[in-house]
Symmetry: C2
Amino acid sequence: MSADLLRTVGEVRAAVAGARRAGRNIGCVPTMGALHEGHGALIDRAVEAGDFTVVTVFVNPIQFDRREDYEAYAISLPADVEFCGRRGAAVVFAPSVAEMYPEGFATTVEVPSLAQNLCGAFRPGHFRGVATVVAKLLNIVQPDTAYFGEKDGQQLAIIRQMAADLNLPLHIVAVPTVREADGLALSSRNRRLSEAERRIAPLLHLALEAGRRKIAEGSRDPAEVRRAAFAVLEAEPAFRVEYVEVVDAQRMQAVDAIAGDVRIAAAVWLGSTRLIDNVPA
Amino acid sequence: MSADLLRTVGEVRAAVAGARRAGRNIGCVPTMGALHEGHGALIDRAVEAGDFTVVTVFVNPIQFDRREDYEAYAISLPADVEFCGRRGAAVVFAPSVAEMYPEGFATTVEVPSLAQNLCGAFRPGHFRGVATVVAKLLNIVQPDTAYFGEKDGQQLAIIRQMAADLNLPLHIVAVPTVREADGLALSSRNRRLSEAERRIAPLLHLALEAGRRKIAEGSRDPAEVRRAAFAVLEAEPAFRVEYVEVVDAQRMQAVDAIAGDVRIAAAVWLGSTRLIDNVPA
C-alpha cells in the first residue's frame, strides 16, 4: 500500500470528503515527521479501528522555543510517506509553512493553566504553539478520532482540554508510549544522542520506575517519590535534570498527596539533547 | 413558523445533523439575545440563502469587562424565540453558562494584534472572550455560513481572522448595519438610553458622516477626518468620547493615509451607556 502525499488544505479536505462519502470514519495522527515505531503505534491504532487515516507531517515553527532545535528537526518526507503507506495510512498531509501560516496570521489558542508547569516552565510559548497548530490541523482534517502518544503527556493533557473546551467534534485516543528493549521511550530526538549518551539515556526511564516502585510500596508522599527518581538521575553526572514531578494523570498538574491516577514525569538534558518521559503509577 | 429552543450541545448537533441529512446548508447567527431588527437582518440573510438557520442566544460572561454591564444584559428568551421563528430561523440555541463553560474550562482563543486598538484598548479581555465563545459556537453548530453585523466592526475583523487562521470550514458573511430613521445604529444597548440621551445619540452617526464627507471631499489625512468627526461630538457635552479612528476595512487598524477601503469608527459614552458605530468611507 502507499499513502497519498498531499500538500494543501484544499487537497486534504477533498480526500477526506471523498472518504466520508464512502462511509469511512476519519482518523488523524498529527506528527512532526521523522516517524518511528512510536508514531507507528498511533497509525496502527487508527488503521485497526478502520479509519481512513490521515497522518499530518508538519514541523511547526511556532512551537519551538529554540531556533537550533527547530533547525535540527530534519525530516525525510519520502521515508515518512513510505512508512505511513506501509502501516496502512491513506494520506500524508505535509503542508508548507506558508500554507499553515500565511501572511497576516495572528491567532493563538492556549490553555494557560495547564502550560505553566513541567515542560511549559522551561519552554516559554511551546504549548501555545502546540495548541494552535493542533486546533488548525484538526479543523483541516475534521477527523472523528485523533490519536496522540502518552509520551508527550503534558501535550496530551493540553490537547484534551483544548478539544473539549472548544467543542471540537471528535474523540481523542491516547496511545501508550513505545519503548526500546532497554526502556528508552522512542523519540525523534534519540537519533541525536552520541553512542555514549544512548547508553546512559535509559536511566531516565529507570528513574521513573524507581519512583513508581516507591508508590507501589505504599508511599503517598510526592517528595519521597521524587527523591527516589532523582537519586537514579543524580548518580549519572551526564544528566542535567529539568524536573521530576508527580502529577495527576488527567491534567498533569503536581499533586500534594498521591491518590487516584497519577503519573511521574521528568525532563533531562543529555549533552545537547532534551529527553522527556512519564509513566503511570 | 416557530423555532425550536434547544439548550444543549447534543441537541443542537442532532438538529444540525438531521438538516444536513436532508441536504440543507447550515447558517449560524451568533447573538447575545435581546434581538432587534439588526439581528433580524442577519437572520433574514441566512433564511433567504436557504440555510437551516441556527440563532445562538448566549450572554457570554467572559467577554464582559464590567460586571454591571453583564448583569444589565437582560434578555427575554421567549420573545427572542418568537422573533427567530417569525423570521424563519429553525433553531434557537440558548445554552446555560455551565453548558458552555463547565468546571475546569481553561482554553483561550485570541487575535492579539487586532485587539489592541479601538474597543480593545478600553475593554481588556473583551475580544479574547468574544473569539473564544465564537470559536466554541461555530464548532458546536458547524455551519456552512456564519453571519455577523458590520456594526461590531472590530469584532467582525477579529472573527474573520480567527476563522481563517484556525481553518474553520465555513464562510463568514458581513451584513450592513441597520439604523433607525435618524441614523442611530440598532443596538440592544439603545434601550438603556433615557429619552434625552436617545435624542442626542444619533449625533454619533452624524459625526461619522462628517468624517466621511471630508474623505469624499478629497481629504487623505486621517487626522483631518477625525477632527471633523470630533467637532460634531464635542459640540454635545453629554458625550464622553473614547475614540474616533480611521481604519482599514479588513483589519480595523488605524491608517496613516487614506487609501483603499477604510472605515471611520467611534465609541462614546452617553451617561452610563456605551455606544459604538462605524461607517465605510
